[in-house]
Every structure is written in C-alpha cells, then in structure tokens.
Amino acid sequence: MRVPISWLREFVTLPADAQAIADRLAMLGFPVAEIERRPTITGVITARIAALEKHPNADRLQVAQVDVGAEAPLTIATAATNVAAGQTIAVATIGAQLPALTIAPRTMRGVASQGMMISAEELALPGEWFEDGIMQLDPNCALGMDVVELFGLDTAVLDVEITTNRPDSMSIFGLARELAASFGTGLRLPEFVNPGRDAEPPGEEPQVAIESDDCYRFVSQRIDGVRVAPAPAWLRVRLALSGQRPINNLVDVSNYVMLETGQPLHFYDAQAIRGGRLIVRSGRDGETMVTLDGVTRTLSTQALVIADDERPLCLAGLMGGAVSEVGPATTAIVLEAANFNGARVRRMSNALALRTEASARHEKSLALALTDLGAARAAALLRDLGATVYRPRAYGEPATRAAAIALKVADVQRLLGLPLAAQAIEHHLAALGCEIDLTQPDTLAVTPPVWRRDLTIAADLIEEVARIEGYERIPSIVPSVAPHEISSAAFALESRIAHVLEGLGYREIITQSLRNAGSVEVRNPLSEEQRFLRDSLVPGIIEYLAENASPVRVFEIGEVFNTDANGLVEQSLLTFGFSADPVDEPPWRDSHFLALKGDCEQLLRKITGRDAELKRGAKPGFHPGKTALATLDGRAVAHLGRIDPRAAKASDLRRPAYLCVIEIASLPAYETPRYQVPSRYPSTYRDVAVVVDIDVSARDIERAIVAAVGSLCTGAVVFDEYRGPQIGEGRKSLAARVTLQRFDATITDEEADAAVSLLLDALQKEFGAEIRA
C-alpha cells in the first residue's frame, strides 16, 4: 500500500526522517518495500486570477493579474488555455525551484512576467491524472499559501507491505494508530459522527434485503444534492500520491475513504435502483452484468451480488456495475458500506480473475465496525462538498465489541521470556485501543478494539505486547534441551551415503522433480514440461550428463513417485554414475562398468558393513549385456550398468554413461564387522588358468575354487580373461590367483600343489574346464 507520510502526519506526530518511520513500521510488522522520495519544490504559492487579458503582442498568450495575497498582484503571461478570471491556481514566483527548472524574471513578447502558472506535472504529479494545463485549486483556498506544504508534496511516500491478518491496517488510520502506539505520541483521529444521523430521508430511500449468509452487515445511506465534478485539489493530490487516479468527486470520495479508513464503499446512482430495494443475494447461473471496467461478466451461484428487483448492480466487495454507475446525470446516490464473508469474496475474485483494491481488503475479512466508520467519513466529506446527507441505516449483525480475552500476566513472560509488569502490558494494549479490566491482578480481561478481528486468543495479545515493547527487547537465550528419543537415522544415512560418494569422486547434483514424464501427474503444472512427478532419477541425470561437454561423475539423492493399489508411493533413491570416453577394448570387456561396480561395492561396504554379491541383472533403459544386480542377504539393493545407448542418444548423450540405482530403504542396517586375526604363518599362491564356456562367470570360478580347496584357501581372484581364436569359439580363458595359507604351520609346496590339483579337478567336473599350460 502506498502511504504518503503527509497523510499520516495529519493524525499522528512523527519523526522528520522518512527512514526512521519506515524502520519503525518494519519493527511493528509492516515492512516498507520502498521509500519514494519527492523532488524539492519551493516558491510555489496559491493565487487567484484577478484579471485576464489578451497579450497585446501575441495571439496565443494571455496576461493575468494574479492575486497572491500580497498588496500588489503579479503580472504573469501564460500560454495555457484552461485559465479564466476568478480561478484559484498555483503559481511559481521568481526564484521558485521546480523539478526541471528555476523561475527567473522574463519578458514574454514585451510583457514582463513575474512568475509561472503551474500544472500538476510541474509539481511532480502524474500529469495525465489531472486536467490539461493549469491545475485548478479550490476556490476557498487562502492566497499566498505554500502549495508544497499545503498538499504535503515534499514528504516521502512509503510502499508498505501489510500481512493478511491486518486488513485494519490497510489504511491510513490503521497505520497512524500503530505508529502512535509505538512512538507513544497521541493519535488525532477525527470524530466519527455521521453528519446525517438526525436527518430522516425524504422517503424514497431503498430498503436493503440481506438474502445471503455471506453478507454480515450493510450500512446504506441516502445522499442527495450531488453533482459530478472534479474533486477538490487536496483530495485529488492525496489520491494521486497514494497511487489512485482521481476520477470525479464521488468516486474519489469513496476511494479516499477506503484508503483512509480501510472500508471499501460503493455508491449507487439512486435513480438506477428499480423497485426500491437493494438485495444482497447469490448470483444466478447465466445471469450477466457489465462491470465498471466495461466487461460483460457471466455470473454463477458462486458470485455474491447486490441487486435491485430486476438485475445485479454490483459484485459484492469486488466491483460495481455499469447500470448504476454515478455520472453527469446523477443527483442522488445510495452509499453502501458493507461487510462480506472474506472467503466468499476471494472465491468470486479468483473465479472471475478480477482483483480490486476493495476485494483485496474484503477478502481478508474486515471488522464489522468499519462499515459505520466508512459511511460516517464519506458522509462528512460529501456534506463538505455540498451534498445533503440523511440518516444511515444498518442491516445485519450489530458491530459490537468482541468478548474479553483472559490474559494471564505470567503467560506473557512464559511465552516471551521477557518479564513485564501488568502495568506495562496494560499500557501497550491500551495504546492499540484495547480496553483492559485490571480487577484481577494476575489475569487481565482484555477487550480488543472493534476494528481488530485478528485478536481472539491470549497469544494474539502477547504478540501485540511484544510488538509495542519491541522484539529487540526480548533477551536472547540458548535453551538446554532435555533428552528425547527422536531418531535422526534417516537423515544420517542419506548424509553418510553422500559423503562416501563425495570421497569416491562424485559430485552431488539436484535435478528437477517435475518432468515431462512419470506415473503421477500434478493437476496444476506450470508447464507441460513439468506435468509429472519423476519416477526415476535416471532421466534427469542423463540430461545433466548430456549438457556437459566433458565426462562428469555425479550423484543425486531424491524422492521419486509411483502409484500402487493403495495410491501414491514415494521412495528415496540414490543414483550415481558417470559419462566416459569410450575405451578401445574387446566387446566382452568394459572397464568403465568395472569401475562403476567397484564404486558400488565400496559404497555398499561402507554403508552396510558387508560385501554385496553381484550377478547379471536387467533393468529397462540399461544395456542388456552390461547390467548387474547387487544383493545383500539375497535382497536386491542396487542395479548398475551402462545406459542403453539408444536411451542416451534420445537425450543427446553421445558418450557411454554408467549409472547405479539404489533404493535407500532397501539398504540393510550397518552391521559392525568383527576382526579376524590373520595367520601368523606365511601364505603362498598359485596362479591357474582354465578354459571354460563364455557363460561361466569369473565369480563362478572363484566360488568353485574356494569350495574345492576349503579352509586352506584364503583368497581366489580371477585376474585375467582372454578370448580369441586360440581358445576357440564360445570359450574363454580365465586366470585366477589362489592364495593358500595355514593357521597352524607354514604351508608346504606339496600341500599347495595338492590343493591346486584338487581345485582343477573340481573346475573340470563342474564347468568342463580345460587346464591351460
């Protein structure tokens, strides 16, 4: 909300410095997004055109004698066309400083001009919001007054952010009240007595029928003797400084009162109301109305309207209709100051994609009492403009004070950690307009002011006390936390995984959870590219690999989403791997795969304390011949392999890519390893080479060797594979190193040789292995 400081100053004494005011507002909970400073303007005063004549030497110029309240009038030549004798205007006298120029004496076609008549633009106001030419001031202005001071044109305008719980403070009164309470200076609000209270209307005032539960209160007031004209200059200037375009005196009064009191108003042309009734009701399906913005709107039962007997006249709390718009022919109006269900207004606003200053206030649920305040303020302004105001009529709920809230004095300290005496609490709450009953010294009975709907429980009041006392006065204390049983295990596991992978040379990335494919859809995506929740981390990582010109090693830990019979299933996955340049090696060997497998084994070992078993696996999107499955206790824990080159190409990834996918919940808990004392006796080894069928795996051979030799064997590792014409089609040669050792004595060569012949026999029996020389 744009708040001219000059407007605030009418009601509260404030420091000179705009920054100090902004800082205080921020510390009250109303941050100031911007302080808009005004340019320096001096020497512009009010004046009246006493006489106006044609310039003797120039057709386009006129020469005015201007009364500035001094003895001698000023002679001012002007090219403006909207001037006439008797007008009250602003003139810049000799030496005056305007944003763009300094006024010096000058001679215009032989006439010495002693100043310049001023347009709104020259006062740094939006020129297009004011009359063309010279700005017209109010006829009853005293002459010779400083215009800048009169209109508060030199004080900054604050752009204040107001939280949704404080619609009462979306107003000058509200913010003035807050500042007065905080600075401890008095608040000078006008007396809100409706000037029409004693005048009975002449009888044609429409009756209001509230037919919807969503209209809580409706104040209507008949006002006669109005005529559409420009509003007084001071009012137009205030609106303009507040960012509201002046329209005409009636519209401007309703906007002015909304900005000042926070209560949106609506004025109906009294003649347009058919049937003598204003009815607050739900819209009817298919019903149409033209709103003030000229748009024809088709309503539904969701809409809340104010209608006459025949047609809707106004969208409640949102925007008026064209048929009852005030215009040049208007002579009498009916004022509406109403209170609606905020949620209903918001739903209608959302449904019609229409938001106004009025709806921004109504949708936050205004206080009932603001209706009477808004009506009284508008009636007073209209009366000042010459209208005849009649008695306001209120319908719906009475605007009574809420029940008192019991506030335990001890609770203030309990929640804030700041000891405050009952007197201090009472003082702060009273400054905000609360009434406090101190009869029970331990528990205050606090009645919130009628304009505050957000104060309903003791905690609300404690916040008010803290705001006025100042949050900065609350001491900073480090709490001591009592022991509890809440587990950090899930986070700790994820963290350990991340650090192991960091150590293995992988960089963590975070890719998008919302993608163009998946099995779970979001209803309101930002774009088609983000319609689905990912069901795998693989596509995001492949895209990432594709975007990088060089090979990279990455991992991601994140949630993926699928559905099963019970609905949505969310899982935490880890995916790591790399893109790599191809290596020149035979098709039956892939060192990148082996590197990935090594990292997978290391990771699983560090996380679970155990060594995983690996075997051939399969996974959609992975290379059918280069994919493995890792298991622990027979339970699948990891799929790893080369990405299917066709899938990679679809994402423009030309390099081979290798990924390992682990569902984190499938990992067994860490099992503490137990130390095994190594043999004190030296070991020996024998290398053996066998030729077997190509589908016999290295792991098969290792396992068979261990099984055949028994406890004498302390290791069996295949270290070489060879295929080629010498070996024969469908066969391969595997070389393994067998480590042999005894725990009770040094193993002899004879024992080692016996073990070898034992295992060779076994390999021959089990796999038809041929022994290579």
Partner: protein, 348 residues
C-alpha cells in the same frame, strides 16, 4: 712365513684394486665372493698356514685375520660410498613443483546439502534430532493441522502443486512439525530439512523447487528468547561470529507471536555499503531476510494433543537456497538447481 705374508700382500692389493673398480653393488658382491667367499683367495692363503711350523701358525693366523678385517672394512666403506653416490644422484634430480597436478576425480556434496548439514549439526550439538519426511503430503499436515483451514487467506501464499483433492507437494517443511508431534510426546527438539515446491515463476530470486530447514522446539518453559538464542547461533555458524540477528513482527497462521528473521548482510558487514556504492547483496538495507519464525500457535499444540497451558515452543523455517545466495554470494538462485560442474567445483 715371509712367503705367506707376500702372498697375502698380493691378495690384499688385488682386492683393493678390484674394490676400486666395482661400480655397483653387484660388482662389489662378486669381489667379496672372489676374495672373502668360502672358496675365495683368502681361504687359499689360509690353507697355507698348515704348511708352516707350528710355532709360527698362531702369528700367521692373526696376520690373516687382521688382513680379512681390513678387507671387510674396505668393503663396508665401498658400500657406503656406492650408497652415498646413489643418494647424490637421486638428490640431484629437481622438478618444477608448480607443474599441474595429477588429480583423482574430485567429489563434492551439493552446497544445499552442505548448508543443511551445517545447520543440522549446529542443532544436533544442542540436543536436536534431524527428521525427514515425504514431499507429497496430505493437506491435513500441510495446512489444516497448522491452523490454515481451507478458506484461510494465508493458503494463497502457499500456491501449491496439487496431485489430488487432498494431496499436494509440500510448499513448506512444516508438515514435519505435525508428524513428529503426533508420534512423540514433549520434549520435541527437531530440525527438518527437505525439498519444497511452490508454483512461483522462476527468476533470479525464486525457484518452484527449493529446500527449507525447519526447526521446532516444544517443551515446558520454552519462550521466544530461546528462539532468538538458537537462531542467532545458527547465523553465526553459517555466516561468521560477527553476525547480528533481527526479529520483526510478522504473521503466520501456525505461530503466534510470529517473526521475520533477518541477519546482518555478511557482504557489507551490515553497513549497506560496499565502498561508496550501495551493497548489491542486501540492496543497501544492511539486512538479509532469512525466513519466518515464531511461537507455535496454541491451536497447533491442541491439534496434536498437547496442552498449550503447559507446553510452549517455537518453530522456524528458512529457505536453504536463499541462505546459499548470501553465503556464497551467488548472483542467481537458479544456479543451485542447474548444478553445473563449474558452480559445484567453486563451492565445494
């Protein structure tokens, strides 16, 4: 005797010449074997003792032994010399130590995780647990239980991605407050980091997918001062010991009183100025907004079955990427989700 002496003399002289000629350990070993070995020349001389008269034999034995000892010393010295020559050669090598390193691939954790881990570690030191939960949440945990009923205007501030009528991607980590409080009795002391989603247009300051760190402390006697104490400590942990923290009144339906938390801009040290220019990190305001906080609303405590007259507590929620922008002086928040290798390398 004289004959033996001259023989011995001849052997030792030839031995000395052979040692001098030996250029490496192998040659030296050959010399040792040839002269001092079992069948070496000295042995041959020693055999001649038997031909001497018995009275001369002891003297001859002593002479030979002395000669052998001298030869062994000579060998030892030659070994030393060879070794020292080898060291000299090794030490004569010199390299350009500034030549580019050979590096194994560098791994790193994401800066988002680093901030989360450091924040959590701070809270864990103070007795908090770290809890994590689902990203797809029922609206009950996301809104209703947090005192945001369906018609509440504050729901507009959480423009969320909906999966069904009641299921959405969490727009904040606060559902973990409810989940934890429903599973445990006070004291509750948790931090809940995690990914969140809001339908925000993406720009240099906004992501529709981002991370939060949530904190919750509920027990008897917990007050706003404890919130200030812990969050001041957190800011000092993340940004340095000089940090100050400011609490401004604000509004959240699930806390009362509520606060916005700011910390002094670490870039301009809370002055708002970099040289004579306005600080581009804080926009000259000297403060950086961290997020929201406040005392847990009595309705939230009641919802999870805690007596608000007995228990009180506070909660806060900070945006992790926002912390990252300030901490690492990053120009554009989108870099955190793009995660390009250069970005990751610089911040690791």
């Amino acid at each position: 005797m004289t004959e033996l002496a001259s023989k011995l003399d001849d052997v030792t002289q030839r031995f000395a010449a052979a040692v001098d000629r030996a250029n490496d350990e192998q040659a030296l070993e050959s010399v040792r074997v040839a002269y001092l070995g079992r069948n070496g020349e000295v042995t041959a001389v020693r055999r001649a003792i038997g031909a001497l008269p018995p009275g001369e034999r002891p003297e001859a034995g002593r002479v030979i032994n002395d000669a052998v000892a001298a030869m062994e010393r000579r060998l030892q010295a030659a070994h030393g010399e060879l070794e020292s020559r080898a060291f000299d050669a090794e030490l004569a090598a010199s390299i350009d130590v500034t030549f580019p390193s050979i590096r194994r691939p560098a791994g790193s954790i994401h800066p988002v995780r680093r901030i989360i881990e450091e924040s959590c570690a701070y809270f864990v030191r103070h007795g908090f647990a770290v809890v994590v939960g689902p990203e797809a949440e029922p609206d009950y945990y996301t809104f209703d239980a947090l005192n945001i009923p369906s018609d509440h205007p504050a729901r507009e501030g959480f423009d969320s991605f909906w999966i069904s009528d009641t299921l959405l991607l969490r727009p904040h980590t606060s559902p973990m407050q409810i989940r934890t409080m429903q599973q445990h009795r006070p004291p509750i002391a948790i931090v809940a980091p995690g990914k969140c989603f809001r339908r925000d247009a993406v720009d240099a300051r906004h992501l529709f997918q981002f991370h939060q760190v949530e904190g919750l402390l509920v027990a008897e006697g917990i007050n706003f001062g404890h919130l200030k104490g812990m969050l001041t400590g957190l800011c000092r942990e993340l940004f340095g010991a000089q940090q100050n923290v400011r609490f401004r009144p604000s509004y959240f339906p699930f806390t009362e009183p509520s606060a916005e938390v700011d910390t002094t801009c670490p870039k301009c040290k809370g002055t708002g100025l970099l040289g004579s220019q306005s600080c581009n990190m804080c926009g000259g305001s000297a403060w950086i907004e961290l997020g929201g906080a406040g005392m847990v609303h009595p309705s939230v405590l009641t919802e999870v079955g805690y007596d608000p007259d007995r228990y009180s507590g506070w909660a806060f929620g900070f945006g992790v990427e926002r912390l990252g922008l300030t901490r690492y002086e990053v120009d554009d928040i989108r870099r955190f989700t793009k995660s390009d290798p250069n970005f990751l390398a610089q911040l690791s």
